[in-house]
């Protein structure tokens, strides 16, 4: 493993490192869990499916209800994996850029901004292709991110977790009203309030996924490129600059990547919250704070989390299902509360 950047304290450097073996082990564990969940997602659902049917459906056959059911689950699973990865990495990036343990696309209202932009495009500009409204989603996410961050940084102390969270919550509520307003006016076109206020992976199709794929790829590449800079930025802007980091550019690239990933995912799924919050914290426990490991892990754990949440949503209330956005909120919010409690008030 290349040497970690020299931290100002011994404990800082030590925290950055984890034995390579431990990380590799966790990598295997996470991959195995992900694989398991993917299989479960394909197999399990409102109807149970046999093994042979599942395999045949994977091969492309859609005869019979069972295989057709599986065939529908594949793009759904794929979307859960891809969107989960994107949201996980996006959250890790946001927490790194803002140095704020509570940053998350949902809490900061960025998801809602993306939704609003898409819904507006759908309702008023008649855009239907996923590729066109991905741009809108990313634009909406970017504008909201800048707005919330600016508002949250005013005043004493800069962007403290509290101010950022409040700015995000208030903005999110405001934007949700706008979404309601737009959709109510053009209910037919916009596809209903529900899909734009609660995120779900049920609407995933190969088509929509392939249209956002290029954006996701760009986002992931930018994220990995930012990994080393984020390690420096964690020490504070001044120290990072002292270490030779070009702070403004590094933050810009990381933020851009976060916004692209979040926007692209939200364009297809609608707003899903808490994945970006929970995943980085969990990954930090596993592999430490070195972003070169943290980011890839966040992708994998995020994918696992979202897939798992979707499976849970499908089996918990058979034969109906619970949207993934609701599951992540119900599971993620207690975790958020746990994180808040753990922090010393002064650190907040």
């Amino acid at each position: 493993m290349p040497s970690t950047p020299a931290g100002p304290t011994a404990s800082g450097a030590a925290a950055l490192r984890r034995p390579r073996r431990v990380r590799a082990l966790w990598l295997l564990v996470v991959l195995a869990v992900l694989l398991l969940l993917v299989v479960a997602s394909v197999m399990v659902g409102s109807r149970g499916v046999g093994w042979s049917d599942a395999v045949a459906a994977l091969g492309g056959s859609t005869e019979g209800f069972d295989r057709a059911a599986v065939a529908k689950r594949i793009p759904r699973t794929l979307l859960a994996v891809v969107a989960g990865a994107a949201l996980g990495v996006s959250g890790a990036l946001m927490q790194g850029v803002t140095r704020n343990p509570l940053a998350d696309p949902g809490i900061l209202g960025i998801n809602m901004g993306a939704s609003l932009a898409v819904v507006t495009g759908l309702a008023y500009f008649g855009l239907t292709a996923a590729s066109s409204y991905v741009w809108l989603a990313i634009g909406g996410a970017a504008v909201t991110a800048v707005f919330v961050y600016t508002v949250g940084s005013l005043g004493r102390g800069g962007a403290t977790p509290l101010k950022l969270a409040l700015a995000g919550a208030a903005t999110s509520a405001a934007l949700a009203s706008f979404v309601s307003a737009v959709v109510l006016g053009r209910n037919d076109v916009a596809g209903g309030v529900r899909s734009w206020q609660i995120g779900g992976v049920g609407g995933g199709t190969y088509d929509s996924i392939s249209q956002v794929a290029p954006f996701l790829v760009v986002g992931f590449v930018l994220a990995l490129a930012s990994a080393r800079s984020l390690n420096s930025l964690a020490l504070g802007d001044d120290l990072a600059a002292g270490l030779g980091e070009r702070v403004a550019i590094a933050r810009g690239v990381a933020a851009l990547s976060a916004v692209v990933l979040c926007g692209a995912a939200t364009a297809v799924t609608g707003p899903i919250g808490f994945v970006g919050l929970v995943v980085p914290h969990a990954c930090r426990l596993l592999v430490g704070v070195d972003h070169r490991w943290l980011l890839p892990f966040s992708a994998l754990v995020g994918a696992a989390l979202l897939t798992g949440a979707d499976v849970l949503g499908r089996i918990a209330t058979r034969p109906s299902e619970v949207d993934v956005g609701i599951v992540t909120a119900l599971v993620g919010a207690p975790f958020f509360i746990y994180i808040v409690r753990r922090q010393k008030v002064r650190a907040l």
């Binding site: 509570l102 949902g106 809490i107 508002v151 949250g152 940084s153 005013l154 005043g155 004493r156 977790p161 509290l162 101010k163 969270a165 409040l166 700015a167 919550a169 208030a170 903005t171 509520a173 405001a174 934007l175 949700a176 009203s177 706008f178 309601s180 307003a181 109510l184 006016g185 209910n187 209903g192 309030v193 529900r194 206020q197 609660i198 919250g273 808490f274 109906s320 619970v322 949207d323 956005g325 609701i326 909120a329 119900l330 993620g332 919010a333 207690p334 958020f336 509360i337 808040v340 409690r341 008030v345 907040l348």
Partner: protein, 374 residues
């Protein structure tokens, strides 16, 4: 010897005790009449401003109330409206005004009063204008419980109100307990409230999605607040809550003002902080829960009423009544706008959300800039 020393010992003079005029001058000499006058004048000026603002707000509420009875697909003149209110039977108007518009407008006023009072109480208690019951989960709890009671359990209005208030109190207790770690820090409480709100909002969405079909109207009421289909059955419990709980709040209004100085200073001034907090929060939660059970969590009214009232009335006085009146006005105006001013009919919650958003942003900016956030 010392100059004016009231013989009855009343605190009217502070002539130095036992000192003759020849001693080295101390700055503690008898208060010149002008300072006392200036203080009294300032106080009277502020009280006058407060009174004027309250009267103007009350008048506006009455005017808009009457207007919402008059305006609609059919326009009824004031005379007809007043006759209907008086109880006379007027052809056509009796139904439209008496059965449809009157309960709706009345609920608008009552709910607005509740949200305004409840919101400003929380903001004062937590010393942060951004810590409003609709952000920290109280409204979300009441509306989740109400949605559950109505959609899933199909209960009647009285039961729904009771469940909503119990849920609101339960959420308040939950947030308090969760944020208690050797004492309650306002920061932690607000953040935990945000988390709890997110959870409850998703629960509400889930309950609504379980409804026979995605009933848009039900969704609107329980997600953002709506007065559609409001009747006396919804309005009366809110009235009862107001009548019972408002005096409780008002009785604590002085204590509440003093707690703004910080817990220690307030205790030093003789305020029983814990007891005041408890009484006031129970009353506020009660008001919010009853209003939410009837009209849903009308977005931002609780949030904005206090700060708007503060701008109008100026700092230093009790904001309870002005905030209540502002809330009533907001809901009335928003409902009118939502019904008739725009192309489609929008529920009141969407209107307050959309119109409130810019002011909300302005408020956050101002609060952060002034540094009065925690």
């Amino acid at each position: 010897m010392s100059t004016t020393r009231s013989t009855d010992g009343a605190p009217g003079s502070i002539a130095p005790v036992g000192e003759t005029p020849e001693t080295p001058p101390s700055i503690l000499t008898k208060a010149p009449a002008t300072t006392g006058e200036a203080v009294a004048r300032g106080r009277r000026r502020r009280a006058r401003r407060r009174l004027v603002v309250m009267l103007v707000l009350a008048t506006l509420v009455v005017v808009v109330y009457l207007a919402s009875l008059m305006i609609g697909k059919t326009f009824y003149p004031v005379s007809d409206v007043l006759r209907v209110v008086a109880g006379d039977d007027v052809a056509g108007a009796s139904f439209t005004v008496g059965r449809l518009r009157l309960p709706r407008a009345s609920l608008a006023v009552l709910a607005g009063l509740c949200f305004g009072l409840g919101g400003v109480t929380f903001q004062t208690m937590l010393r942060n204008p951004l810590a409003s019951p609709d952000i920290i989960g109280i409204s979300s709890g009441a509306s989740a419980a109400a949605a559950f009671a109505i959609v899933t359990l199909s209960l009647g209005t009285r039961a729904v109100s009771i469940i909503a208030i119990l849920a609101g109190l339960a959420v308040a207790i939950l947030i308090y307990l969760l944020s208690y770690k050797g004492g309650v820090a306002g920061t932690r409480l607000i953040l935990i409230g945000i988390g709890v709100a997110a959870m409850l909002d998703s629960l509400t969405a889930y309950v609504l999605s379980r409804a026979a079909e995605w009933d848009l109207q039900a969704a609107q009421r329980w997600l953002t607040g709506s007065l559609n289909g409001a009747g006396w059955a919804q309005a009366v419990p809110v009235l009862v809550a107001l009548v019972v709980l408002t005096p409780v709040l008002l009785s604590q209004s002085r204590n509440l003002s003093v707690t703004q100085l910080g817990d220690d200073t307030a205790s030093a001034l003789g305020v029983r902080v814990d007891r005041t907090r408890l009484v006031v929060i129970v009353a506020a939660v009660g008001l919010i829960a009853f209003a939410t059970a009837a009209a849903g969590p009308i977005a931002f009214v609780a949030f904005l009423s206090g700060p708007i009232a503060a701008r109008l009335v100026g700092p230093g006085g009790s904001l309870l009544i002005p905030a209540g009146l502002v809330g009533a006005l907001l809901v009335l105006v928003a409902d009118l706008v939502g019904q008739y001013a725009l192309g489609t009919r929008f529920p009141v919650g969407v209107v307050t959300g959309v119109l409130g958003a810019p002011y909300l942003v302005y408020l956050i900016v101002r609060t952060n800039r002034a540094g009065s956030s925690l």
